[in-house]
C-alpha cells in the first residue's frame, strides 16, 4: 500500500518534470521556429552577395599542335568537349578533361588557297563559323555537339555541317583575298559580309521554297559598301542580320542598317577610342544590342544603339571598364547573361558583368594568353597560352547581375537613352537584360503607404480622440467594437470593392468626390454653429457626447448633394469632364485604379489599427490630470490639446508607426486596387507597384534559386525588417508609456 503510494508520488514528480521539459522544449522550439523565418530569408538572400570564384582544374598541351594557329576555341554546355578552329581550316575536337583528341576535321581548301580570315557568328543563335579564303571564296560551317543517352550514360558527339554546301562559295569574282569576313544565318536568309579587293561586299542568300520544285531556289542579293578610312579591322553582324558594324584600324566604329540588303544605310560613325590607342578586340554582348570594345590601353567600353532626339538610331557609350594596363586581347560574352570575360596583355583572366558594372574575377593565369572559350553556361573557361598550353578553369559565378548599384541606383540599360530606375525582372526572350532596381518598388510601397496614411491618420486619430475623451460611454461601447471590426475584414474584400466598385465609382464621380471632401467639414461646421445658436431646450434633448450620431445625417446629406451635383459641377467648371480637365491643365493622366483608390481602401484597413492603439493611449490618460485642468478653467478642447494629447503622444506615435507598418506590408489591396505598373510617379491619379504586390505577382513564376528568386526574397526580407523594426520601436514606446502612466 505504502509502496504503491510512493510509486504514485514518484510518478507525479516524473510527470511534473516531463511536463516541465516538454513545455520548455516546446516553447523554445516555437520561439526558435519564429526566429528561423528571419534567418531563412537571410540564408536565401546571402548568396547574392557572395563573390565569384575560379578554380584551376586541368592543363594539358595544345591538341594537334601542328594543325595550325588557333583562331577560335569553343566549348559545349556540359564542359566535356571543346573545339579548336585553326588557321589551316582544321577543326580539332578534344576532351576537356584530358586534352585527348576525338576527331580532326578539315574544310575543303582548293589547291593553292589558304585561309585569310575567320569569324564566328552569334553563338547563341545557331552558331555559325565562316572562313574567308585567299581566292575570294568562303566556307560557311556549323559545328554541333549532339547529346544522346546510352543506358543513362550521356554521350556527346561532335559534328560539322555546311549550310551553304561544302564547296567554297564565291564572294569576289575577281578572286581578291578576303581580308575580313562575317556571316549570320537565319531561317531563310543567310548574310555574308566580306572585305575583299576594293569594297566591303554585302551578300545575302535567300532561300525560296517553291511549291512545285522539290529543291528550294536560292536568291542572291549583293551590294557594296566603301571601305572606310583607316581600313577594316573587323566586321560584325548582329544575330538577326539587320545591323552591320564595321570596326576600322584607326579606332572608328561604323554602324549600318542593312535591313534592306540591297541598300545598306550608314547610320552613324563614331570614334570609339582615343587617337593614341587602338582597338584590340570587339565582341557583341549577349543579345547583340551592344558592342564591347577593348582597346590597347586595357579599357573595355560598352556601346549600345539608342534613339536620339530625332529618333535616329545612334551609338552611345554607356559605360566603361578598366581591365588592365595592357591591351585587351580578347573579349568573350556569356551566352545567357550580360556578362563577359576578358584576356589582357598581362595574362590575366577577368570576368565582368555589364549591368552591375562589377569586376567579378581577376586571376593571373600565365605569362601570355592567346585564345579562350567561355562555356555556354558560363561556369567554365578554356584558355590557351602563348606557350601552347591549354588550361581549364571552372567559374562559380551565380549572381553577377546584383550589386548595390543595380538594386538601388540608376543604371544605364541597353537601348535606353539615359540611366534610369527600372524594375523589369523577366521577359519571354533569353537574351533579355533583367532590370532589378528596387527603387520603383520601394517608391510604390511608400507612395501607397503615404496615401493610405493621409486618409487613415486624420480619421483614425480624430476618431480616437473623440471616442476616448468626448464620446458618451453608452455610445462608445458600440462604436469602439464596430471600428475594431473593420480591422477584421479580409483585405481581399476591401481590395475587390476598391478595384471593382470604388474605382469606377470615383472615376465617374470625380468632381463629386472632391466636392464631398470640401463640403463635409463645411457643412459640419455650419451645422455645429447652428446647433450652438439653437434654443437650449432642443439642444438639451440630445445627451452630451452623442454629437457624432447627430452628424451622421448631415454627412450623408452633404454626400448626397456632392455626388448628385457631380455632373453639373463638371459641366460648369471643367468643360464637362474633370478627368480631361486635369489632363489638359495639370498634365496628369488618369488611371482608373490609382493612388487615391489605394489610399482610401488601404486607409480603411489601417484605420482600426491606429484607432485601437491611439484610443487606448488617450483613454488611459490618468483622470486626475484632465479633471485638474478642467477645474483650472480650461475648456474641454484646451485640456485635450494641452494635457491629454501631450501625455498620450508617445502612444499616438506608436499607433501611427504600427499603422504605417501595416500599410507598407499590405498585399491584396494594392494588388487589386492598382494597375501594378512599377512607375515612379507622384501623381495621385497614377497607380504603383509595391514590394509586397510584386512578390505576390512574380514569386510563383520565378525559378528556384535564380537571381530573381533571391531578389524577391530580398524584398521580403526588406519588408520583414522594416515592419519588425517599426513595430518593435512602437512597442517599446508603448511600454515606456505604460510605465509612465502607472507612475502618474
Amino acid at each position: 500500500m505504502e509502496n504503491s503510494s510512493s510509486l504514485y508520488q514518484q510518478w507525479r514528480l516524473v510527470k511534473d518534470s516531463i511536463a516541465r521539459y516538454g513545455v520548455i522544449a516546446g516553447g523554445m522550439g516555437v520561439i526558435i521556429a519564429v526566429v528561423m523565418i528571419f534567418f531563412y530569408l537571410l540564408y536565401v538572400v546571402f548568396p547574392l552577395f557572395l563573390p565569384a570564384s575560379v578554380e584551376h582544374k586541368v592543363s594539358f598541351n595544345l591538341p594537334e599542335k601542328d594543325a595550325g594557329k588557333t583562331v577560335l576555341l569553343d566549348m559545349e554546355e556540359q564542359n566535356e568537349l571543346a573545339a579548336r578552329f585553326t588557321d589551316q581550316g582544321k577543326i580539332v575536337f578534344f576532351k576537356i578533361s584530358t586534352g585527348e583528341v576525338i576527331s580532326t576535321e578539315s574544310i575543303k581548301l582548293p589547291e593553292g588557297t589558304r585561309v585569310t580570315s575567320f569569324s564566328q557568328g552569334s553563338p547563341t543563335k545557331d552558331g555559325i563559323e565562316v572562313y574567308g579564303l585567299s581566292d575570294g571564296k568562303a566556307v560557311l560551317l556549323k559545328h554541333k555537339f549532339d547529346v544522346t543517352y546510352n543506358q543513362n550514360q550521356r554521350v556527346i558527339s561532335p559534328s560539322l555541317s555546311y549550310p551553304m554546301g561544302e564547296e567554297p562559295i564565291e564572294l569576289d569574282a575577281s578572286g581578291a583575298k578576303i581580308n575580313a569576313i562575317t556571316a549570320q544565318i537565319g531561317a531563310t536568309i543567310t548574310t555574308v559580309v566580306a572585305e575583299a579587293g576594293t569594297a566591303i561586299k554585302l551578300i545575302s542568300f535567300e532561300k525560296e521554297e517553291s511549291l512545285f520544285a522539290d529543291e528550294a531556289s536560292v536568291n542572291k542579293t549583293e551590294s557594296l559598301i566603301d571601305i572606310p578610312a583607316g581600313g577594316v579591322n573587323k566586321l560584325l553582324l548582329d544575330k538577326d542580320g539587320s545591323y552591320l558594324y564595321v570596326v576600322t584600324n584607326n579606332g572608328s566604329l561604323l554602324f549600318y542598317d542593312i535591313n534592306d540588303k540591297s541598300s545598306p544605310i550608314l547610320k552613324h560613325t563614331e570614334k570609339v577610342v582615343e587617337d593614341t590607342h587602338k582597338i584590340t578586340s570587339v565582341s557583341f554582348l549577349n543579345g547583340d544590342l551592344s558592342l564591347l570594345i577593348g582597346d590597347s590601353s586595357g579599357v573595355v567600353t560598352q556601346w549600345t544603339k539608342v534613339r536620339d532626339k530625332d529618333s535616329n538610331l545612334v551609338l552611345k557609350k554607356i559605360r566603361s571598364f578598366t581591365v588592365s594596363k595592357k591591351p585587351v586581347i580578347e573579349i568573350k560574352s556569356e551566352q545567357r547573361r550580360k556578362g563577359f570575360m576578358t584576356l589582357d596583355g598581362e595574362g590575366n583572366l577577368g570576368v565582368f558583368h555589364s549591368t552591375s558594372e562589377k569586376e567579378l574575377i581577376k586571376e593571373h593565369v600565365s605569362q601570355e594568353l592567346v585564345k579562350s572559350a567561355l562555356s555556354p553556361r558560363a561556369n567554365g573557361v578554356l584558355l590557351q597560352s602563348a606557350d601552347d598550353k591549354v588550361v581549364f578553369w571552372t567559374i562559380d559565378n551565380e549572381h553577377p547581375e546584383v550589386s548595390f548599384k543595380t538594386l538601388w541606383q540608376e543604371v544605364w540599360y541597353e537601348s535606353y537613352d539615359k540611366p534610369d530606375y527600372i524594375w523589369q525582372s523577366s521577359a519571354s526572350n533569353n537574351d533579355f537584360e533583367p532590370k532589378y532596381s528596387l527603387i520603383p518598388l520601394v517608391f510604390g510601397t511608400l507612395k501607397a503607404a503615404f496615401y493610405a496614411m493621409l486618409v487613415a491618420m486624420p480619421l483614425a486619430l480624430m476618431s480616437a480622440v473623440y471616442s476616448a475623451y468626448f464620446m458618451a460611454p453608452a455610445m462608445r461601447q458600440y462604436v469602439k467594437p464596430t471600428i475594431e471590426i473593420m480591422g477584421a475584414l479580409p483585405t481581399v474584400i476591401l481590395g475587390f470593392l476598391a478595384g471593382l466598385w470604388l474605382a469606377p465609382f470615383v472615376e465617374e464621380n470625380l468632381a463629386g468626390i472632391f466636392c464631398f471632401m470640401l463640403l463635409v467639414p463645411l457643412s459640419v461646421l455650419l451645422f455645429s454653429l447652428l446647433w450652438e445658436f439653437l434654443p437650449a431646450e432642443i439642444v438639451k434633448k440630445v445627451p452630451e457626447g452623442w454629437d457624432s450620431a447627430l452628424i451622421i445625417p448631415v454627412i450623408l446629406l452633404s454626400g448626397w448633394i456632392a455626388l448628385s451635383s457631380s455632373l453639373t459641377i463638371e459641366d460648369w467648371f471643367f468643360n464637362g469632364s474633370l478627368r480631361e480637365w486635369i489632363k489638359i491643365n495639370l498634365g496628369l493622366g488618369y488611371d482608373q485604379r490609382n493612388s487615391m483608390i489605394v489610399g482610401i481602401a488601404m486607409g480603411f484597413a489601417v484605420i482600426p489599427t491606429i484607432y485601437t492603439i491611439a484610443e487606448d493611449a488617450v483613454f488611459s490618460v490618468p483622470k486626475h490630470l484632465t479633471v485638474g485642468s478642467l477645474a483650472l478653467g480650461a475648456t474641454a478642447w484646451q485640456t485635450m490639446i494641452k494635457i491629454v494629447l501631450l501625455t498620450a503622444s508617445p502612444g499616438i506615435f506608436s499607433a501611427v508607426m504600427i499603422g504605417l507598418g501595416r500599410a507598407v506590408g499590405e498585399t491584396m489591396i494594392v494588388l487589386m486596387a492598382t494597375g501594378n505598373t512599377p512607375v515612379m510617379d507622384l501623381s495621385v491619379f497614377q497607380g504603383m507597384r509595391t514590394l509586397a504586390a510584386n512578390i505576390a505577382v512574380e514569386m510563383p513564376e520565378s525559378e528556384v534559386d535564380s537571381t530573381h528568386y533571391r531578389i524577391l526574397f530580398l524584398s521580403a526580407l526588406v519588408l520583414f525588417a522594416f515592419t519588425f523594426i517599426f513595430n518593435t520601436f512602437a512597442e517599446i514606446i508603448r511600454q515606456r508609456l505604460r510605465e509612465k502612466y502607472s507612475s502618474l
Binding site: 511534473d16 516541465r20 530569408l41 467639414p521 484646451q638 501595416r662 510563383p700 512597442e731
Partner: protein, 557 residues
Amino acid sequence: MMNQEKLKAWIDSGTPWIWLNATAVSICLIMVVGVLGLVAIRGTSHFWPGKVMQMVYKNDDNSAPKTLIGEHIDTSLMSVAMAKANGHVMAENEDKLVQFLMKTGNRDLTGSDFGWILERNSKNITYPKELVVIERREWGNFYGNLLSLKENGNVIAEGDALWNKVNEKLTTSLAIFEEIKKLEKKEIGAVNYSLERLRLQEKSLQLKNQLTADKEKEISAEREILNTEYKKFQAQLTELYQKGRTISVVAKIDNGSELEIPLSKIVRIYQPNSMSVIDDIGFYFTKFSEFLTDDPRESNTEGGIFPAIFGTIMMVIMMSIIVTPFGVIAAVYLKEYAKQGVITRTIRIAVNNLAGVPSIVYGVFGLGFFVYILGGNIDQLFFPEAAPAPVFGTPGLLWASITLALLTLPVVIVSTEEGLSRIPKSIREGSLALGATKFETLWQTILPMASPSMMTGLILAVARAAGEVAPLMLVGVVKLAPTLPLDGNFPFLHLDRKFMHLGFHIYDVGFQSPNVEAARPLVYATSLLLVAVILVLNLSAIIIRNRLREKYRALEG
C-alpha cells in the same frame, strides 16, 4: 455685436474642433456600415431573379429599329460634354446622357453577354410573360422565346403544352446529369486513382529492385480488373450521354435567329416575368443552395462555390490543429516556466511584432522553406517513385496550413498569455499549497480556467486565416481544383493536394476572369459569405472575451 462675441468665444473654446473630431468618428462608422451594407445588398441580390425586359431599340445611326431582350443591370449618367467627346450626338434640350447596362446573354450568338444602350433610344419597354431565361452549362444565359421541344429531331411539344413538357423533360435530364457526374467523379475517379497508385507501386518496387515476376503478375492482374471496371463505367457513361443528348429545345432570340439547345446543356429554365413573389422567393433559395453546394461552372463565373468553402474549412481546421498546441505551449512556457526578465520581455515583444509582419513574407517563407526545402526532401526520401512529378514538393494543403499556423501563432500566444495572466495568483498558490505539483496545478486548475482565452485566440486565428489570401497564393491555393482534399479514396485526407479558397476565389474571379462583368454578382455573394463568417467569428471572440473578463472580475472581487 453680441453674436459676434459669442461666435469668437465659440471658436476660441475649440468646440468646432470637437465637432470635426466627431465627424471623423461618424465617417468611420458610415464607412464600416457602408461597406458591410454594400456587400450585403449586392451579395444577397445576386440570387433574386431579375425581370427581363423587351424593347424596341433604335441605334443612333439610321439602321432599322430592332427588338432587344435583356435584364437591366446598371445605369450610368454622362455629362453633355463627355457624351459629345465620346461621339454621341446630343440634342439641345438634353442635359445629360443616360445609359443602361443590359445583360442580353446569348454570348454564343452575339459575342458578348453585356452591352451599354442609350436610354433615349429605347422605346416600348414591356415585360412579356412568355420570355424565358435559360441557364446553360456553357455560353452563359440565354434570353428569348421558346418555340418547341424536339426529340431526335422531331417536334414533340409546341404551343401551350410546351412549357410543362419542357419542365418535365428537364427534370429527367437533370437526373441523368447527376448520374453522369456521380459516375465521372466518384466511380471513374476512384478507378483512376487506384490505377495511379498501382503505377506508383510498380515503379517503387522497380526502384528498389524488388519487382519480381510474381509481383508483376499480381499488379497486372489487379490492373486488368480495374481496366475492365473502367470500361464498364465508360460504357455506362456513353449510354447516359446519348440518352441526355436526344432532347433539345428550340428557341428564338431577339434578333429572330433560332437556336437549338440540348437539354443536357441546360441547368434551369424559367420565365421570370410570370413568376409571383412566392416563386421568386423559392427561386432565390434554390439559387442560394446551389451557390453553397454546387461546383463552379464556366471558369468559376457561374454555379456554386462549394469546393472553395470546403477548401477554406479544411485549411482552417488543419491550421487550428497545428497552431493550438504550439501556441498554448509557447504561452505556457513564457508565462509559467520561463524566468521573467529581459529575455522573456524581448521574446514577448518579438512575438507581438510577428503579428505585424506582412503576411506575404510568411508566404515567401512557406514557399521557400516548406515547399521547396522540406517538401523537396520528403519527395526524395519517401516518394522517389512519383518523380519527376512532385508530391509534397509543390504547394498544397499541408504547407498552406502550416504557413498560416505560423502566421496566426502570435495571435494564439498573445491571447493565451493574456488569459494566463488574468488568473489570480491566489488560485495558483492555493493549488500548490495543497500539495499539487506544478504540472497538476497547470493541468487541472490553470489551463481549464484559461481555456476561454485560448478559445478566443483560436477564434481570432481562424478568422484571420480564413480571410488571408496573399500567402496562400504562394503556398497552395489554385483557381480550380479538380478534386477535393478529402474524398473516399485511401488515405482519404490528401494533404498534398492543392485546394480552392474563398478569398482567393474572390481575387481570381474578380480580377483574373475573362468575363468580369458576368462574374461580379458571384464575387459579391462570395464576399458576403466570407464577411459573414469572419464577423461571426470575431463577434463570438469578443463575446467570449467579455464574459471572461466579468468572470475574473468576480473572482478577484
